[in-house]
Assembly symmetry: C3
Homo-oligomer: 299 residues x 3
């Protein structure tokens, strides 16, 4: 599978497997292991998770697999996140909020390492832009984690350009990625400078909800209907069976080297994303979907 | 006429003549030649056109003049554009879309050179921000065209700051201009950072639709009525006959060195723009029109 | 009191006293002197005024104090502003507008020096972003004023990031502050890149209307009610009597080193702001007020 190199010592598989709903699948550890092995067979080596996924349970479910089969670890790039505190009724937090303090970042990483049963994280992302982010403090936390070998690279998620610029001004090593929402139904980051900054700063973006949380298939509003029809037309032209392949390929056709995060537990759906790698768009085909999403022709 | 120097080897006449509607005028080649000669007599040496103007016909109408009187060529700066593909019923394009691929840029320039019957273009603009713009590919196309002597300078049109920053990060030579919509009725680029970037990057902007497509004269909405009255008051104060002069002068009073594109085929209207160069605004007069456009006082 | 260092030779007191309404208080010169002395006793050394405050009268009211007790001058950092021309029925101005011409800047400073009865201004701010700002001309004015020793440092007020970037590109010495509206009811600059730029460029911001012009206490709309309740809860938790202390502390908890401008003539209210310096927020407490202001949880 195509790989996206973002640093001399870091590359991602073009398709990323996402663990957002890993807990929901109710898979045994054996099933989880088989799923990861299936990903690896397809060339997917990058796994996206977060400390809070599954109400703080997904990392450990993944860690059980790594403990059971330790040789998997070095074949994978593990991306996890910190910075959100969820009010989950158990941890003494009463209101969801953000925390990018040094104590939180380092504490969260220590916990992630335990959960994941590994001794390093490939990429740590700040999950949301914390209004109270202190860039000096974050830089210090990142420096210590890197020097201790606990985290190799750092990135952000859901950041706007002014937030990336500000944080990069304080960091020793630039952010390697911005994980953002991108789909044929959610075009904001195509138009607000986020993808432009990714290209300018050589930060290949990861796309979450690349299928708009299923709305591409089932959304009933007028935009979803228009986009679904355009995807169906393209699928027919390309001779593919399902529109998810077209939706993934549509994102990957963009020059920013978008890496879709596929959050499915079914190998068939993951294979659809991999198959998307072989689809080619003409510019006119690509803009048909763009125009369907906008609801008006380009100017 | 005042000239705006943007590079050591490139300057524009402050007033630019625009060929957007050249085909609509139904002028004989002799009339087109006389129009260009009238421009030159007035000091207007910069001509703005585009591959697609007049449904792909305007460049050739201009080229006929250059073929008829080749000595005109070296007296002019020719600005043309590429990057839009129009569905015109003949070229196999079914949906208007953008194309900034290397093959399109180079192919479009080759065609423009044939149409214009010249062997170089002074400035090539990317006509609209292509969502799929690949900055490495554009940089390569620009480099080849420059090395071949086919295009001397490059710019953009209708670009937002993040798009200019991104593209400039990849180019050997910075963009020389951003051609944008600017008028007393369309203030967006005064307020969204575009003109600030032009001043920061020393990219003198060209203004299209400086008279808001005639809406300054005939618009019936409340904003157009307010602005028209303010322009009429200023015209009376300045002792000029028509509000177009005031509207041009209002743009040129801005420190970004805005170059209005005058898209008229009538020498009288072009002379009005040239006459605008001699008008002086006090700041209070200028802000009267600004406030009329906003519909509320400054804070 | 904590001080905020923005240049090697410039620091501000964390709390700034504001003279916006100095004329409204109808204080005798003795009362004004006592007020300033009370500020100094509290550690407040930075005074914010503007040429136009009190319809061009506040600077002189302050200057009378400095003339009466000249030893005060060197204990203070005086911040004043220029760039707005008010239509006040006397000065021949008929429409409020902005002016950042060299002649206005230098003339306004000369007048401010007379009004303030001093021979230097610590920091001169451009009061509003003038659409017609010519950065070369402003740079020239600033250079002359600095060389003449009349103004030591320069900043802006109510500027957006693209305006700061543009102006900084022309100045010999970077802007030292951006004075902006910030409060628990006005979050724009937390979210639009302004505070991020302040942190990136090391420009500590000054906050005007930190109590939202009293709306925190008396506003009847739903947002004001929600925020007031949240402030009251925090005040109870922190065991403080009045919500203004909490509101000031909330701003100062932000890492951008926000300096609230306290525009009260009552020593009790100024003491409340100073007392706010000792309040500590947990992140959760801070976000409770943020969420109350937004009207929805963080994502």
């Amino acid at each position: 599978m195509e790989r996206i190199r973002v640093q001399s010592d870091l590359s991602f598989s073009r398709i990323i497997h996402g663990h957002w709903r890993l807990a929901d699948w109710n898979y045994s550890v054996k099933m989880r292991m088989e799923l990861i092995e299936s990903c690896l067979e397809l060339g997917i080596t990058t796994i996206d998770t977060a400390n809070i996924y599954g109400n703080y349970t997904c990392e450990a479910l993944f860690g059980e697999v790594l403990a059971l089969k330790p040789e998997l670890r070095e074949k994978l790039e593990i991306v996890t996140k910190c910075g959100i505190k969820l009010a989950n009724g158990k941890n003494g937090v009463h209101l969801n909020h953000y925390d990018s303090s040094k104590i939180h970042i380092i504490g969260s990483v220590e916990q992630s390492l335990k959960n994941l049963q590994t001794d390093y994280i490939d990429v740590l992302l700040l999950h949301r832009p914390d209004v109270l982010l202190n860039p000096e403090e974050v830089a210090e936390a990142f420096r210590e984690l890197k020097q201790a070998g606990k985290v190799k690279h750092f990135g952000v998620s859901n950041y706007l350009p002014s937030q990336v610029d500000m944080l990069n001004a304080y960091l020793d090593v630039p952010l390697v990625t911005n994980q953002i929402e991108l789909s044929a139904l959610y075009r904001d980051h195509f138009e607000n400078g986020v993808l432009n900054q990714c290209m300018k700063e050589n930060m290949a973006p990861m796309a979450w909800s690349p299928l708009a949380r299923g709305k591409l298939f089932t959304g009933e509003d007028i935009q979803a209907s228009r986009v679904r029809k355009a995807l169906e037309r393209a699928a027919a032209d390309m001779n593919v069976q399902t529109i998810d392949e077209v939706a993934y390929a549509w994102l990957m056709h963009h020059p920013a080297k978008i890496m879709p995060i596929v959050g499915s537990g079914k190998v068939e759906r993951i294979k659809a994303a991999v198959h998307a790698l072989s689809l080619e768009f003409s510019r006119e085909q690509w803009y048909e979907i763009w125009v369907a999403s906008r609801g008006k022709n380009v100017d």
